[in-house]
Assembly symmetry: C2
Homo-oligomer: 278 residues x 2
Amino acid sequence: MSKKQLIMESALELFAKQGFEATSVQQITDHAGISKGAFYLSFKSKDELIIALIDHFMMQFTSDIDWVVKNSNNDTELLYDFYNAAFASFQKHSDFAKIFIKEQSQTPNEELISKMRHYDKLTDKIILSMIDRLYGEEARKVKYDLIYCIKGFIHVYSHLFLFFNLPFDLDSLCRSLAQKTNVLAKHSTIPFITEELFQTFTTEQSYEEVTAEQLIELLGQTIEEIEEPIEKESLTLLKQQLIEPSLSPAIVKGLLENIRNHPHCKWVSYLLRGYFGF
Amino acid sequence: MSKKQLIMESALELFAKQGFEATSVQQITDHAGISKGAFYLSFKSKDELIIALIDHFMMQFTSDIDWVVKNSNNDTELLYDFYNAAFASFQKHSDFAKIFIKEQSQTPNEELISKMRHYDKLTDKIILSMIDRLYGEEARKVKYDLIYCIKGFIHVYSHLFLFFNLPFDLDSLCRSLAQKTNVLAKHSTIPFITEELFQTFTTEQSYEEVTAEQLIELLGQTIEEIEEPIEKESLTLLKQQLIEPSLSPAIVKGLLENIRNHPHCKWVSYLLRGYFGF
DNA sequence: TATACTAATGACTGGTTGGTCATTTGTCAA
DNA sequence: TTGACAAATGACCAACCAGTCATTAGTATA
Protein backbone atom coordinates (compact mmCIF):
# COMPACT_ATOMS: atom_id res chain seq x y z
CA MET A 1 0.00 0.00 0.00
CA SER A 2 1.34 3.44 -0.87
CA LYS A 3 2.09 5.88 1.92
CA LYS A 4 -0.68 8.09 0.60
CA GLN A 5 -3.23 5.31 0.96
CA LEU A 6 -1.93 4.41 4.39
CA ILE A 7 -2.40 7.98 5.56
CA MET A 8 -5.85 8.19 3.97
CA GLU A 9 -7.01 5.05 5.72
CA SER A 10 -5.73 6.18 9.10
CA ALA A 11 -7.26 9.59 8.66
CA LEU A 12 -10.57 8.11 7.52
CA GLU A 13 -10.90 6.17 10.72
CA LEU A 14 -10.03 9.09 12.98
CA PHE A 15 -12.14 11.63 11.09
CA ALA A 16 -15.15 9.32 11.30
CA LYS A 17 -14.67 8.99 15.03
CA GLN A 18 -13.75 12.56 15.97
CA GLY A 19 -14.50 14.80 13.03
CA PHE A 20 -12.07 16.60 10.78
CA GLU A 21 -11.28 19.68 12.85
CA ALA A 22 -10.86 17.71 16.06
CA THR A 23 -8.28 15.37 14.55
CA SER A 24 -4.68 16.59 14.44
CA VAL A 25 -2.04 15.65 11.90
CA GLN A 26 -0.01 14.26 14.79
CA GLN A 27 -2.80 11.84 15.68
CA ILE A 28 -3.05 10.68 12.09
CA THR A 29 0.68 10.04 11.74
CA ASP A 30 0.86 8.31 15.13
CA HIS A 31 -2.01 6.07 14.09
CA ALA A 32 -0.36 5.33 10.74
CA GLY A 33 2.99 4.67 12.43
CA ILE A 34 4.91 7.29 10.48
CA SER A 35 6.49 10.62 11.35
CA LYS A 36 4.81 13.95 11.04
CA GLY A 37 7.24 15.04 8.34
CA ALA A 38 6.31 12.04 6.22
CA PHE A 39 2.74 13.26 6.13
CA TYR A 40 3.80 16.41 4.36
CA LEU A 41 5.68 14.39 1.75
CA SER A 42 2.34 12.94 0.64
CA PHE A 43 0.01 15.87 1.21
CA LYS A 44 0.66 19.59 1.01
CA SER A 45 -1.72 20.28 3.88
CA LYS A 46 -4.40 18.79 6.07
CA ASP A 47 -7.01 20.35 3.79
CA GLU A 48 -5.56 18.57 0.78
CA LEU A 49 -6.06 15.31 2.63
CA ILE A 50 -9.76 15.75 3.30
CA ILE A 51 -10.29 16.79 -0.30
CA ALA A 52 -8.48 13.67 -1.49
CA LEU A 53 -10.76 11.59 0.73
CA ILE A 54 -13.89 13.26 -0.57
CA ASP A 55 -12.73 12.76 -4.13
CA HIS A 56 -11.73 9.16 -3.59
CA PHE A 57 -15.07 8.16 -2.19
CA MET A 58 -17.40 10.35 -4.18
CA MET A 59 -15.89 9.26 -7.47
CA GLN A 60 -16.72 5.68 -6.55
CA PHE A 61 -20.18 6.52 -5.28
CA THR A 62 -21.08 8.61 -8.32
CA SER A 63 -19.82 6.09 -10.82
CA ASP A 64 -21.47 3.20 -8.97
CA ILE A 65 -24.96 4.68 -9.00
CA ASP A 66 -24.47 5.99 -12.53
CA TRP A 67 -23.59 2.53 -13.75
CA VAL A 68 -26.64 1.01 -12.10
CA VAL A 69 -28.96 3.58 -13.62
CA LYS A 70 -27.41 3.36 -17.09
CA ASN A 71 -27.15 -0.42 -17.20
CA SER A 72 -30.28 -1.70 -15.56
CA ASN A 73 -32.52 -3.08 -18.27
CA ASN A 74 -35.39 -3.83 -15.97
CA ASP A 75 -37.41 -0.76 -15.16
CA THR A 76 -39.38 -2.47 -12.42
CA GLU A 77 -36.16 -3.20 -10.54
CA LEU A 78 -34.36 0.05 -11.28
CA LEU A 79 -35.35 1.92 -8.12
CA TYR A 80 -34.51 -1.07 -6.01
CA ASP A 81 -31.13 -1.44 -7.71
CA PHE A 82 -30.44 2.25 -7.30
CA TYR A 83 -31.09 2.25 -3.56
CA ASN A 84 -29.18 -0.95 -3.22
CA ALA A 85 -26.14 0.52 -4.91
CA ALA A 86 -26.33 3.72 -2.87
CA PHE A 87 -26.63 1.98 0.49
CA ALA A 88 -24.10 -0.68 -0.42
CA SER A 89 -21.64 2.08 -1.15
CA PHE A 90 -22.40 3.75 2.17
CA GLN A 91 -22.11 0.47 4.00
CA LYS A 92 -18.83 -0.49 2.35
CA HIS A 93 -17.28 2.88 3.08
CA SER A 94 -19.08 3.58 6.30
CA ASP A 95 -16.23 5.56 7.79
CA PHE A 96 -16.27 7.88 4.86
CA ALA A 97 -20.04 8.11 4.87
CA LYS A 98 -19.92 9.26 8.46
CA ILE A 99 -17.46 11.99 7.58
CA PHE A 100 -19.57 12.95 4.61
CA ILE A 101 -22.70 13.35 6.71
CA LYS A 102 -20.87 15.20 9.46
CA GLU A 103 -18.77 17.53 7.40
CA GLN A 104 -21.46 18.61 4.96
CA SER A 105 -20.94 22.20 3.98
CA GLN A 106 -19.78 23.12 7.44
CA THR A 107 -16.12 23.81 6.91
CA PRO A 108 -14.69 27.21 6.01
CA ASN A 109 -12.66 25.44 3.31
CA GLU A 110 -13.98 26.89 0.06
CA GLU A 111 -12.58 24.17 -2.15
CA LEU A 112 -14.19 21.45 -0.08
CA ILE A 113 -17.59 23.09 -0.29
CA SER A 114 -17.38 23.44 -4.04
CA LYS A 115 -16.26 19.82 -4.30
CA MET A 116 -19.30 18.73 -2.31
CA ARG A 117 -21.60 20.87 -4.45
CA HIS A 118 -20.06 19.42 -7.55
CA TYR A 119 -20.71 15.82 -6.57
CA ASP A 120 -24.13 16.72 -5.28
CA LYS A 121 -25.00 18.08 -8.69
CA LEU A 122 -23.72 14.94 -10.38
CA THR A 123 -25.92 12.88 -8.06
CA ASP A 124 -28.90 15.07 -8.92
CA LYS A 125 -28.22 14.51 -12.59
CA ILE A 126 -28.09 10.75 -12.22
CA ILE A 127 -31.26 10.62 -10.13
CA LEU A 128 -33.01 12.90 -12.61
CA SER A 129 -32.11 10.66 -15.52
CA MET A 130 -33.51 7.72 -13.58
CA ILE A 131 -36.78 9.54 -12.92
CA ASP A 132 -37.05 10.63 -16.54
CA ARG A 133 -36.55 7.10 -17.72
CA LEU A 134 -39.03 5.58 -15.29
CA TYR A 135 -41.79 8.14 -15.42
CA GLY A 136 -41.05 10.51 -18.29
CA GLU A 137 -43.86 12.96 -18.93
CA GLU A 138 -45.90 11.45 -16.12
CA ALA A 139 -43.65 13.01 -13.48
CA ARG A 140 -42.73 16.14 -15.37
CA LYS A 141 -44.19 18.49 -12.79
CA VAL A 142 -42.82 16.84 -9.68
CA LYS A 143 -39.52 15.40 -10.85
CA TYR A 144 -37.34 17.92 -9.09
CA ASP A 145 -39.17 17.32 -5.86
CA LEU A 146 -38.63 13.61 -6.36
CA ILE A 147 -34.88 14.17 -6.48
CA TYR A 148 -34.99 15.81 -3.08
CA CYS A 149 -37.31 13.19 -1.61
CA ILE A 150 -34.96 10.44 -2.73
CA LYS A 151 -32.00 12.27 -1.24
CA GLY A 152 -33.97 12.78 1.97
CA PHE A 153 -34.76 9.06 2.16
CA ILE A 154 -31.13 8.18 1.66
CA HIS A 155 -30.08 10.66 4.29
CA VAL A 156 -32.36 9.59 7.12
CA TYR A 157 -32.12 5.88 6.52
CA SER A 158 -28.36 5.93 6.14
CA HIS A 159 -28.28 7.58 9.56
CA LEU A 160 -29.79 4.44 11.06
CA PHE A 161 -27.22 2.33 9.29
CA LEU A 162 -24.25 4.35 10.28
CA PHE A 163 -24.92 5.34 13.84
CA PHE A 164 -26.62 2.26 15.21
CA ASN A 165 -24.72 -0.96 15.07
CA LEU A 166 -27.61 -3.19 14.23
CA PRO A 167 -27.95 -5.90 11.60
CA PHE A 168 -30.05 -4.37 8.83
CA ASP A 169 -32.04 -6.08 6.15
CA LEU A 170 -30.80 -4.16 3.13
CA ASP A 171 -33.21 -5.93 0.80
CA SER A 172 -36.19 -4.93 2.89
CA LEU A 173 -35.01 -1.34 3.08
CA CYS A 174 -34.56 -1.04 -0.66
CA ARG A 175 -37.92 -2.60 -1.45
CA SER A 176 -39.56 -0.24 1.01
CA LEU A 177 -37.89 2.85 -0.42
CA ALA A 178 -38.47 1.80 -4.01
CA GLN A 179 -42.18 1.55 -3.27
CA LYS A 180 -42.24 4.87 -1.46
CA THR A 181 -40.52 6.56 -4.38
CA ASN A 182 -42.90 4.98 -6.83
CA VAL A 183 -45.91 6.00 -4.78
CA LEU A 184 -44.70 9.59 -4.70
CA ALA A 185 -44.06 9.62 -8.43
CA LYS A 186 -47.49 8.20 -9.24
CA HIS A 187 -49.66 10.16 -6.83
CA SER A 188 -48.09 13.44 -5.84
CA THR A 189 -49.16 16.40 -7.93
CA ILE A 190 -48.17 19.53 -6.02
CA PRO A 191 -44.60 20.54 -6.84
CA PHE A 192 -42.49 22.83 -4.74
CA ILE A 193 -39.26 22.80 -6.71
CA THR A 194 -40.00 24.17 -10.14
CA GLU A 195 -37.65 23.79 -13.07
CA GLU A 196 -36.73 27.44 -12.61
CA LEU A 197 -35.95 27.05 -8.91
CA PHE A 198 -33.93 23.94 -9.58
CA GLN A 199 -31.86 25.80 -12.15
CA THR A 200 -30.98 28.52 -9.68
CA PHE A 201 -29.58 25.91 -7.30
CA THR A 202 -27.38 24.57 -10.01
CA THR A 203 -26.38 27.79 -11.70
CA GLU A 204 -22.72 27.20 -12.25
CA GLN A 205 -21.96 24.78 -15.02
CA SER A 206 -21.70 21.32 -13.62
CA TYR A 207 -20.32 18.15 -15.16
CA GLU A 208 -18.02 19.90 -17.55
CA GLU A 209 -17.50 17.66 -20.54
CA VAL A 210 -14.01 16.29 -20.43
CA THR A 211 -11.84 16.47 -23.49
CA ALA A 212 -10.07 13.49 -25.04
CA GLU A 213 -6.75 15.04 -24.01
CA GLN A 214 -7.80 15.16 -20.35
CA LEU A 215 -8.95 11.55 -20.55
CA ILE A 216 -5.68 10.44 -22.10
CA GLU A 217 -3.78 12.20 -19.36
CA LEU A 218 -5.95 10.62 -16.66
CA LEU A 219 -5.65 7.19 -18.27
CA GLY A 220 -1.87 7.53 -18.30
CA GLN A 221 -1.88 8.19 -14.54
CA THR A 222 -4.24 5.33 -13.82
CA ILE A 223 -2.21 2.87 -15.89
CA GLU A 224 0.80 3.66 -13.73
CA GLU A 225 -1.17 3.13 -10.53
CA ILE A 226 -2.49 -0.36 -11.03
CA GLU A 227 -0.90 -3.72 -11.55
CA GLU A 228 -3.60 -6.17 -12.54
CA PRO A 229 -2.76 -7.21 -16.14
CA ILE A 230 -6.30 -7.33 -17.54
CA GLU A 231 -7.20 -3.90 -16.23
CA LYS A 232 -3.86 -2.47 -17.25
CA GLU A 233 -4.17 -3.72 -20.82
CA SER A 234 -7.78 -2.59 -21.05
CA LEU A 235 -6.78 0.89 -19.99
CA THR A 236 -3.92 0.94 -22.47
CA LEU A 237 -6.20 -0.11 -25.32
CA LEU A 238 -8.78 2.48 -24.33
CA LYS A 239 -6.10 5.13 -24.28
CA GLN A 240 -5.02 4.04 -27.76
CA GLN A 241 -8.65 4.22 -28.86
CA LEU A 242 -8.84 7.82 -27.71
CA ILE A 243 -5.70 8.75 -29.63
CA GLU A 244 -6.69 6.88 -32.77
CA PRO A 245 -10.13 5.21 -32.86
CA SER A 246 -9.91 1.75 -34.37
CA LEU A 247 -11.92 -0.57 -32.15
CA SER A 248 -15.57 -1.46 -32.55
CA PRO A 249 -18.12 -0.20 -30.00
CA ALA A 250 -18.61 -3.73 -28.69
CA ILE A 251 -14.93 -4.08 -27.91
CA VAL A 252 -14.80 -0.67 -26.27
CA LYS A 253 -17.81 -1.52 -24.14
CA GLY A 254 -16.17 -4.80 -23.16
CA LEU A 255 -12.98 -3.03 -22.19
CA LEU A 256 -14.98 -0.61 -20.07
CA GLU A 257 -16.67 -3.54 -18.40
CA ASN A 258 -13.24 -4.97 -17.55
CA ILE A 259 -12.25 -1.94 -15.55
CA ARG A 260 -15.62 -1.02 -14.10
CA ASN A 261 -15.16 -2.61 -10.74
CA HIS A 262 -11.55 -1.83 -10.02
CA PRO A 263 -11.55 0.81 -7.25
CA HIS A 264 -8.97 2.94 -9.02
CA CYS A 265 -10.74 2.80 -12.36
CA LYS A 266 -14.30 3.65 -11.36
CA TRP A 267 -14.01 7.31 -12.04
CA VAL A 268 -12.17 7.08 -15.32
CA SER A 269 -14.63 4.38 -16.32
CA TYR A 270 -17.51 6.73 -15.52
CA LEU A 271 -15.96 9.49 -17.60
CA LEU A 272 -15.23 7.16 -20.49
CA ARG A 273 -18.81 5.90 -20.51
CA GLY A 274 -19.91 9.50 -20.83
CA TYR A 275 -17.36 10.16 -23.55
CA PHE A 276 -18.17 7.10 -25.66
CA GLY A 277 -21.87 7.52 -25.11
CA PHE A 278 -22.69 4.31 -23.26
CA MET B 1 -30.86 41.66 28.11
CA SER B 2 -28.94 39.50 30.52
CA LYS B 3 -25.25 38.89 29.94
CA LYS B 4 -26.02 35.24 29.34
CA GLN B 5 -28.42 36.06 26.55
CA LEU B 6 -26.01 38.57 25.05
CA ILE B 7 -23.32 35.92 24.88
CA MET B 8 -25.71 33.36 23.46
CA GLU B 9 -26.81 35.68 20.67
CA SER B 10 -23.25 36.58 19.74
CA ALA B 11 -22.20 32.96 19.79
CA LEU B 12 -25.22 31.91 17.74
CA GLU B 13 -24.24 34.23 14.94
CA LEU B 14 -20.61 33.19 14.91
CA PHE B 15 -21.30 29.46 15.25
CA ALA B 16 -23.73 29.60 12.33
CA LYS B 17 -21.12 31.29 10.19
CA GLN B 18 -18.00 29.38 11.21
CA GLY B 19 -19.06 26.32 13.14
CA PHE B 20 -18.60 25.58 16.80
CA GLU B 21 -15.03 24.31 16.83
CA ALA B 22 -13.76 27.06 14.57
CA THR B 23 -15.14 29.83 16.78
CA SER B 24 -13.01 30.89 19.76
CA VAL B 25 -14.25 32.23 23.06
CA GLN B 26 -12.22 35.37 22.33
CA GLN B 27 -14.16 35.95 19.12
CA ILE B 28 -17.44 35.55 20.96
CA THR B 29 -16.52 38.00 23.70
CA ASP B 30 -15.11 40.53 21.22
CA HIS B 31 -18.32 40.32 19.24
CA ALA B 32 -20.40 40.72 22.39
CA GLY B 33 -18.26 43.65 23.59
CA ILE B 34 -17.27 42.06 26.89
CA SER B 35 -14.08 40.65 28.32
CA LYS B 36 -13.05 37.05 28.16
CA GLY B 37 -13.26 36.69 31.91
CA ALA B 38 -16.87 37.85 31.86
CA PHE B 39 -17.71 34.91 29.63
CA TYR B 40 -16.68 32.49 32.35
CA LEU B 41 -18.90 34.27 34.86
CA SER B 42 -21.90 33.19 32.77
CA PHE B 43 -20.74 29.82 31.47
CA LYS B 44 -18.45 27.27 33.03
CA SER B 45 -17.03 26.29 29.63
CA LYS B 46 -17.49 26.64 25.90
CA ASP B 47 -19.27 23.28 25.89
CA GLU B 48 -21.80 24.53 28.41
CA LEU B 49 -22.60 27.35 26.00
CA ILE B 50 -23.41 25.14 23.03
CA ILE B 51 -25.57 22.96 25.22
CA ALA B 52 -27.46 26.00 26.46
CA LEU B 53 -28.03 27.02 22.84
CA ILE B 54 -29.28 23.58 21.85
CA ASP B 55 -31.63 23.57 24.83
CA HIS B 56 -32.89 27.06 24.20
CA PHE B 57 -33.84 26.39 20.62
CA MET B 58 -34.97 22.80 20.84
CA MET B 59 -37.30 23.57 23.71
CA GLN B 60 -39.02 26.13 21.53
CA PHE B 61 -39.06 23.91 18.47
CA THR B 62 -40.43 20.92 20.37
CA SER B 63 -43.11 22.87 22.15
CA ASP B 64 -44.10 24.70 18.95
CA ILE B 65 -44.75 21.58 16.92
CA ASP B 66 -46.33 19.85 19.89
CA TRP B 67 -48.78 22.68 20.31
CA VAL B 68 -49.73 22.62 16.65
CA VAL B 69 -50.33 18.87 16.70
CA LYS B 70 -52.29 18.95 19.96
CA ASN B 71 -54.39 21.98 19.13
CA SER B 72 -55.22 21.66 15.47
CA ASN B 73 -58.88 20.71 15.22
CA ASN B 74 -58.82 20.33 11.47
CA ASP B 75 -57.37 17.03 10.39
CA THR B 76 -57.19 18.04 6.76
CA GLU B 77 -54.94 20.95 7.65
CA LEU B 78 -52.88 19.24 10.33
CA LEU B 79 -49.99 18.12 8.15
CA TYR B 80 -49.82 21.53 6.55
CA ASP B 81 -49.82 23.23 9.92
CA PHE B 82 -47.17 20.87 11.21
CA TYR B 83 -44.76 21.55 8.36
CA ASN B 84 -45.54 25.22 8.61
CA ALA B 85 -44.66 25.30 12.28
CA ALA B 86 -41.50 23.32 11.74
CA PHE B 87 -40.18 25.43 8.90
CA ALA B 88 -41.30 28.66 10.52
CA SER B 89 -39.25 27.70 13.54
CA PHE B 90 -36.24 26.92 11.36
CA GLN B 91 -36.69 30.17 9.47
CA LYS B 92 -37.07 32.27 12.58
CA HIS B 93 -34.01 30.76 14.20
CA SER B 94 -32.06 30.14 11.04
CA ASP B 95 -28.73 30.71 12.73
CA PHE B 96 -29.50 28.01 15.19
CA ALA B 97 -30.89 25.69 12.56
CA LYS B 98 -27.63 25.96 10.67
CA ILE B 99 -25.69 24.99 13.76
CA PHE B 100 -28.12 22.17 14.41
CA ILE B 101 -27.69 20.70 10.96
CA LYS B 102 -23.93 21.15 11.01
CA GLU B 103 -23.20 19.94 14.48
CA GLN B 104 -25.42 16.88 14.39
CA SER B 105 -23.84 14.11 16.36
CA GLN B 106 -20.40 15.08 15.19
CA THR B 107 -18.89 16.47 18.36
CA PRO B 108 -17.03 14.34 20.87
CA ASN B 109 -19.09 16.04 23.55
CA GLU B 110 -21.11 13.22 25.12
CA GLU B 111 -23.65 15.44 26.82
CA LEU B 112 -24.43 17.24 23.59
CA ILE B 113 -25.05 13.99 21.75
CA SER B 114 -27.44 12.74 24.40
CA LYS B 115 -29.22 16.11 24.38
CA MET B 116 -29.70 15.81 20.63
CA ARG B 117 -30.94 12.23 20.97
CA HIS B 118 -33.35 13.32 23.66
CA TYR B 119 -34.97 16.03 21.55
CA ASP B 120 -34.95 13.77 18.53
CA LYS B 121 -36.98 11.25 20.49
CA LEU B 122 -39.43 13.92 21.58
CA THR B 123 -39.86 14.94 17.96
CA ASP B 124 -40.49 11.31 17.00
CA LYS B 125 -43.13 11.09 19.68
CA ILE B 126 -44.93 14.18 18.45
CA ILE B 127 -44.82 13.09 14.82
CA LEU B 128 -46.05 9.64 15.80
CA SER B 129 -49.01 11.07 17.67
CA MET B 130 -49.86 13.10 14.59
CA ILE B 131 -49.71 10.04 12.35
CA ASP B 132 -51.81 8.02 14.78
CA ARG B 133 -54.43 10.70 14.89
CA LEU B 134 -54.58 11.17 11.13
CA TYR B 135 -54.39 7.59 9.96
CA GLY B 136 -54.82 5.35 12.99
CA GLU B 137 -55.06 1.68 12.11
CA GLU B 138 -54.74 2.51 8.42
CA ALA B 139 -51.05 3.32 8.78
CA ARG B 140 -50.25 0.86 11.53
CA LYS B 141 -47.70 -1.03 9.52
CA VAL B 142 -45.83 1.89 8.03
CA LYS B 143 -46.13 4.52 10.73
CA TYR B 144 -42.54 4.30 11.89
CA ASP B 145 -41.32 4.64 8.34
CA LEU B 146 -43.53 7.69 7.99
CA ILE B 147 -41.73 9.33 10.89
CA TYR B 148 -38.44 8.96 9.12
CA CYS B 149 -39.82 10.11 5.79
CA ILE B 150 -41.18 13.25 7.40
CA LYS B 151 -37.84 13.91 9.08
CA GLY B 152 -36.10 13.31 5.76
CA PHE B 153 -38.37 15.82 4.02
CA ILE B 154 -37.72 18.41 6.68
CA HIS B 155 -34.00 17.82 6.46
CA VAL B 156 -33.53 18.18 2.72
CA TYR B 157 -35.95 21.02 2.23
CA SER B 158 -34.63 23.01 5.17
CA HIS B 159 -31.23 22.73 3.52
CA LEU B 160 -32.56 24.75 0.60
CA PHE B 161 -33.93 27.33 2.95
CA LEU B 162 -30.87 27.75 5.01
CA PHE B 163 -28.04 27.62 2.57
CA PHE B 164 -29.49 29.44 -0.41
CA ASN B 165 -30.60 32.97 0.11
CA LEU B 166 -33.67 32.82 -2.07
CA PRO B 167 -37.21 33.96 -1.41
CA PHE B 168 -39.18 30.81 -0.69
CA ASP B 169 -42.90 30.25 -0.88
CA LEU B 170 -43.47 28.60 2.48
CA ASP B 171 -47.12 27.97 1.73
CA SER B 172 -46.31 26.10 -1.43
CA LEU B 173 -43.66 24.05 0.31
CA CYS B 174 -45.98 22.99 3.10
CA ARG B 175 -48.82 22.08 0.76
CA SER B 176 -46.43 20.04 -1.31
CA LEU B 177 -45.00 18.15 1.67
CA ALA B 178 -48.42 17.63 3.26
CA GLN B 179 -49.57 15.94 0.06
CA LYS B 180 -46.43 13.83 -0.20
CA THR B 181 -46.85 12.67 3.38
CA ASN B 182 -50.47 11.86 2.79
CA VAL B 183 -49.69 9.95 -0.39
CA LEU B 184 -47.12 7.87 1.45
CA ALA B 185 -49.51 7.15 4.30
CA LYS B 186 -52.30 6.09 1.96
CA HIS B 187 -50.39 4.04 -0.57
CA SER B 188 -47.19 2.65 0.85
CA THR B 189 -47.48 -0.85 2.24
CA ILE B 190 -43.94 -2.18 2.63
CA PRO B 191 -42.49 -1.19 5.98
CA PHE B 192 -38.82 -1.19 6.80
CA ILE B 193 -38.89 0.10 10.36
CA THR B 194 -40.86 -2.36 12.42
CA GLU B 195 -42.21 -1.59 15.87
CA GLU B 196 -39.46 -3.76 17.27
CA LEU B 197 -36.71 -1.96 15.34
CA PHE B 198 -38.09 1.41 16.36
CA GLN B 199 -38.04 0.38 19.99
CA THR B 200 -34.38 -0.53 19.84
CA PHE B 201 -33.55 2.95 18.57
CA THR B 202 -35.31 4.48 21.49
CA THR B 203 -34.30 2.08 24.22
CA GLU B 204 -33.47 4.46 26.99
CA GLN B 205 -36.47 6.01 28.61
CA SER B 206 -37.31 9.28 26.94
CA TYR B 207 -39.64 12.05 28.01
CA GLU B 208 -39.38 11.39 31.70
CA GLU B 209 -42.55 12.58 33.35
CA VAL B 210 -41.83 15.68 35.37
CA THR B 211 -42.99 15.93 38.95
CA ALA B 212 -45.07 18.79 40.34
CA GLU B 213 -42.07 19.81 42.46
CA GLN B 214 -39.84 20.13 39.41
CA LEU B 215 -42.49 22.19 37.66
CA ILE B 216 -42.89 24.49 40.66
CA GLU B 217 -39.13 24.99 40.76
CA LEU B 218 -39.02 25.72 37.02
CA LEU B 219 -41.98 28.09 37.27
CA GLY B 220 -40.24 29.98 40.05
CA GLN B 221 -37.21 30.53 37.85
CA THR B 222 -39.30 31.57 34.87
CA ILE B 223 -41.30 34.06 36.91
CA GLU B 224 -38.06 35.78 37.87
CA GLU B 225 -36.91 35.95 34.27
CA ILE B 226 -39.78 37.75 32.63
CA GLU B 227 -41.40 41.12 33.10
CA GLU B 228 -44.64 41.16 31.10
CA PRO B 229 -47.45 41.45 33.71
CA ILE B 230 -49.97 39.10 32.07
CA GLU B 231 -47.45 36.31 31.59
CA LYS B 232 -46.01 36.85 35.07
CA GLU B 233 -49.38 36.64 36.75
CA SER B 234 -50.40 33.64 34.69
CA LEU B 235 -47.24 31.84 35.74
CA THR B 236 -47.81 32.74 39.37
CA LEU B 237 -51.38 31.43 39.27
CA LEU B 238 -50.27 28.23 37.57
CA LYS B 239 -47.63 27.74 40.22
CA GLN B 240 -50.29 28.23 42.90
CA GLN B 241 -52.48 25.69 41.10
CA LEU B 242 -49.68 23.14 41.27
CA ILE B 243 -49.24 23.67 45.01
CA GLU B 244 -52.95 23.68 45.77
CA PRO B 245 -55.38 22.96 42.92
CA SER B 246 -58.33 25.34 43.00
CA LEU B 247 -58.90 26.59 39.47
CA SER B 248 -61.18 25.07 36.89
CA PRO B 249 -59.71 23.36 33.81
CA ALA B 250 -60.99 26.17 31.60
CA ILE B 251 -59.10 28.76 33.59
CA VAL B 252 -55.95 26.65 33.64
CA LYS B 253 -56.16 26.19 29.89
CA GLY B 254 -56.64 29.93 29.46
CA LEU B 255 -53.61 30.68 31.61
CA LEU B 256 -51.56 28.24 29.56
CA GLU B 257 -52.73 30.00 26.43
CA ASN B 258 -51.52 33.31 27.87
CA ILE B 259 -47.96 32.10 28.17
CA ARG B 260 -47.79 29.85 25.16
CA ASN B 261 -46.11 32.28 22.85
CA HIS B 262 -43.64 33.95 25.17
CA PRO B 263 -40.19 32.70 24.16
CA HIS B 264 -39.18 32.06 27.74
CA CYS B 265 -42.37 30.19 28.59
CA LYS B 266 -42.63 27.78 25.71
CA TRP B 267 -40.92 24.93 27.41
CA VAL B 268 -42.65 25.26 30.76
CA SER B 269 -45.91 25.65 28.86
CA TYR B 270 -45.18 22.40 26.98
CA LEU B 271 -44.46 20.58 30.23
CA LEU B 272 -47.55 22.00 31.92
CA ARG B 273 -49.76 20.91 29.03
CA GLY B 274 -48.39 17.41 29.49
CA TYR B 275 -48.90 17.60 33.25
CA PHE B 276 -52.48 18.91 33.13
CA GLY B 277 -53.35 16.60 30.27
CA PHE B 278 -54.25 19.12 27.59
C1' DT C 1 33.56 0.31 -0.53
C1' DA C 2 32.44 4.94 -1.93
C1' DT C 3 29.14 8.05 -3.80
C1' DA C 4 24.86 10.04 -4.81
C1' DC C 5 20.49 10.12 -4.04
C1' DT C 6 15.90 9.94 -1.90
C1' DA C 7 12.91 8.80 2.08
C1' DA C 8 12.03 9.69 6.62
C1' DT C 9 12.54 11.91 10.96
C1' DG C 10 11.17 14.82 14.97
C1' DA C 11 12.69 19.01 17.25
C1' DC C 12 11.27 23.35 16.40
C1' DT C 13 8.50 27.78 15.22
C1' DG C 14 5.01 31.05 15.46
C1' DG C 15 0.46 31.12 16.56
C1' DT C 16 -3.98 29.96 18.72
C1' DT C 17 -6.71 27.76 22.06
C1' DG C 18 -9.73 27.18 26.46
C1' DG C 19 -9.47 28.50 30.83
C1' DT C 20 -7.56 31.11 35.31
C1' DC C 21 -6.89 34.70 38.58
C1' DA C 22 -4.72 38.79 40.67
C1' DT C 23 -6.18 43.20 39.94
C1' DT C 24 -9.23 47.02 38.87
C1' DT C 25 -13.73 49.17 38.43
C1' DG C 26 -18.43 50.02 39.75
C1' DT C 27 -22.06 50.18 43.09
C1' DC C 28 -24.20 50.12 46.92
C1' DA C 29 -25.30 51.25 52.19
C1' DA C 30 -23.57 53.45 56.25
C1' DT D 1 -16.57 60.05 52.25
C1' DT D 2 -15.70 55.61 53.47
C1' DG D 3 -15.65 50.74 53.29
C1' DA D 4 -17.49 46.37 51.77
C1' DC D 5 -18.82 43.68 48.24
C1' DA D 6 -19.69 42.10 43.53
C1' DA D 7 -18.79 42.66 38.62
C1' DA D 8 -15.57 42.91 35.14
C1' DT D 9 -11.04 42.87 33.23
C1' DG D 10 -7.12 41.17 30.37
C1' DA D 11 -2.45 39.52 31.09
C1' DC D 12 -1.13 35.13 31.64
C1' DC D 13 -0.68 29.85 31.40
C1' DA D 14 -0.06 25.31 29.74
C1' DA D 15 -1.47 22.69 25.97
C1' DC D 16 -1.98 22.08 21.47
C1' DC D 17 -2.03 23.22 16.57
C1' DA D 18 -0.32 23.09 11.34
C1' DG D 19 3.51 23.30 9.03
C1' DT D 20 9.02 23.55 8.38
C1' DC D 21 13.64 22.02 7.83
C1' DA D 22 18.30 20.61 9.22
C1' DT D 23 19.66 16.18 10.00
C1' DT D 24 19.83 11.17 9.56
C1' DA D 25 18.79 6.50 7.65
C1' DG D 26 18.27 3.70 3.87
C1' DT D 27 19.19 2.26 -0.76
C1' DA D 28 20.83 1.81 -5.27
C1' DT D 29 24.53 2.48 -8.48
C1' DA D 30 29.43 2.66 -9.83
